[in-house]
């Protein structure tokens, strides 16, 4: 292994070696609890490359809650809206017609066989 090598397992662009005193990259960790769940952001790890980030994320974020799959994404690759833009998301007029909360249908969906199969999977 030569100095300053590029780690090919990380897509070839991840130079994991760097001058002393440089902080390692921050990786956002997404945990999938069960096979049909979406991956949910759980927190960050510091790691020099994706493989190490996955290895460290396993112990940092899956020791208590169930997990079947992990994603890690370089935090600087995540684009975010500005904090000052928060009011853009606040409705100015009544939009309760968009909420399904009162639909009896919703309760049926929640109690459907889809959820029941989840319970089976959990056992």
């Amino acid at each position: 292994m030569t100095s300053g090598r590029v780690d090919q397992r990380d897509g070839g662009d991840a130079r994991w070696e760097r001058p002393l005193g440089t902080a390692p990259d921050v990786w956002a960790v997404f945990v999938q609890g069960r096979h049909r769940d979406m991956h949910v952001y759980a927190g960050d790890v510091h790691a020099p490359d994706a493989e190490m980030a996955l290895v460290l994320a396993k112990e940092s974020y899956t020791r208590r809650d169930p997990c079947v799959n992990l994603w890690v994404v370089r935090a600087d690759q995540i684009h975010a809206t500005a904090q000052t833009a928060a009011e853009m998301f606040v409705p100015a007029i009544d939009k309760s017609y968009r909420f399904g909360g009162s639909y009896r249908q919703q309760r049926r969906v929640l109690q459907s066989s889809y959820k029941a199969s989840y319970r089976e999977e959990d056992q």
Binding site: M1, S3, G4, R5, W16, E17, P24, V45, H46, A47, P48, E51, M52, V55, L56, A57, K58, E59, S60, R63
Partner: protein, 260 residues
């Protein structure tokens, strides 16, 4: 329900299998204690958490195996783990050595996990229930330990400045003790003849060497040629173990009858 030992009719095979169980449990207890010494002082918070977690798991494996013996003999797990004289412990010297830098602990973990995974597969194939089933279960956790260790080893050995030299030095230091994992004792012969074990210490060592060689060589490390340093399997330990045992058992010795 009779335990795994009382189910073995031949007393010499029973004693030999007890010796083997104790050896595995002692290995796990002692390396678990060494790993736990990194808690709070690991190289970064994530690896600190991971190493601490590995330490807990190794201690848990040790406990599960001590329980198999204790259950058969009506004894107490804590007394088995903490209440023996130093020469009654059967772990290999590799596991008792001080954590001489993160690179030593990582090299030791790489060498030990390759051994431990194969040993648990041997136990799983022994037909001695319920220990065989337990070994299959414990093997699942060892997989992550090996992955963590090898991921770290690759990064340390690939360092630009003094990484490769320090990892090689750690490997050279650990190697004779690692070969001591395979120290042959009369118990191995008895279990081989009885068909409980299907691989001799020498054959296990050969398979282990074949398994670790590609890992080490892919890190541009040189396979050491030093001879084995033995004794641990017969209860002969280094001064490092005396210090470890004194610290590890301090709380238990303060009141051996206490229920925690």
């Amino acid at each position: 329900m009779p335990g795994v030992l009382t189910a073995i009719a031949d007393p010499s095979v029973r004693d030999a299998f007890r010796e083997w169980l104790l050896r595995i449990a002692d290995d796990e207890l002692v390396i678990g204690h060494r790993h736990s010494e990194w808690t709070g002082v690991g190289p970064d918070i994530e690896s600190d958490v991971a190493m601490s977690s590995i330490a807990q798991e190794e201690l848990g494996h040790g406990r599960a195996l001590y329980e198999q013996i204790a259950q058969d003999e009506g004894s107490d797990v804590d007394r088995l783990a903490f209440g023996r004289a130093p020469n009654e412990y059967r772990h290999a010297a590799l596991l008792e050595q001080e954590n001489d830098g993160w690179e030593y602990s990582i090299v030791r973990l790489v060498l030990y996990e390759a051994f431990e995974g194969a040993r648990l597969r041997l136990v799983a194939a022994s037909g001695q229930e319920p220990v065989a089933g337990l070994a299959r279960l414990l093997g699942r956790e060892e997989r992550y330990h090996g992955l963590f260790a090898e991921t770290w080893l690759t990064r340390l050995a690939g360092g630009a400045v003094d990484g490769p030299g320090r990892v090689q030095a750690a490997l050279d230091a650990a190697w004779p003790d690692a070969l001591g994992l395979f120290e042959a004792t009369p118990a191995d012969d008895v279990l081989l003849r009885a068909g409980v074990l299907t691989s001799s210490p020498a054959a296990q060592r050969e398979a282990w060497t074949d398994a670790v060689r590609p890992v080490l060589e892919s890190c541009a490390l040189t396979m050491p040629t030093a001879e084995a340093r033995e004794g641990g399997r017969r209860g002969v330990h280094t001064p490092a173990f005396g210090r470890l045992l004194a610290q590890m058992t301090e709380v238990w010795r303060s009141d051996p009858e206490a229920r925690w």
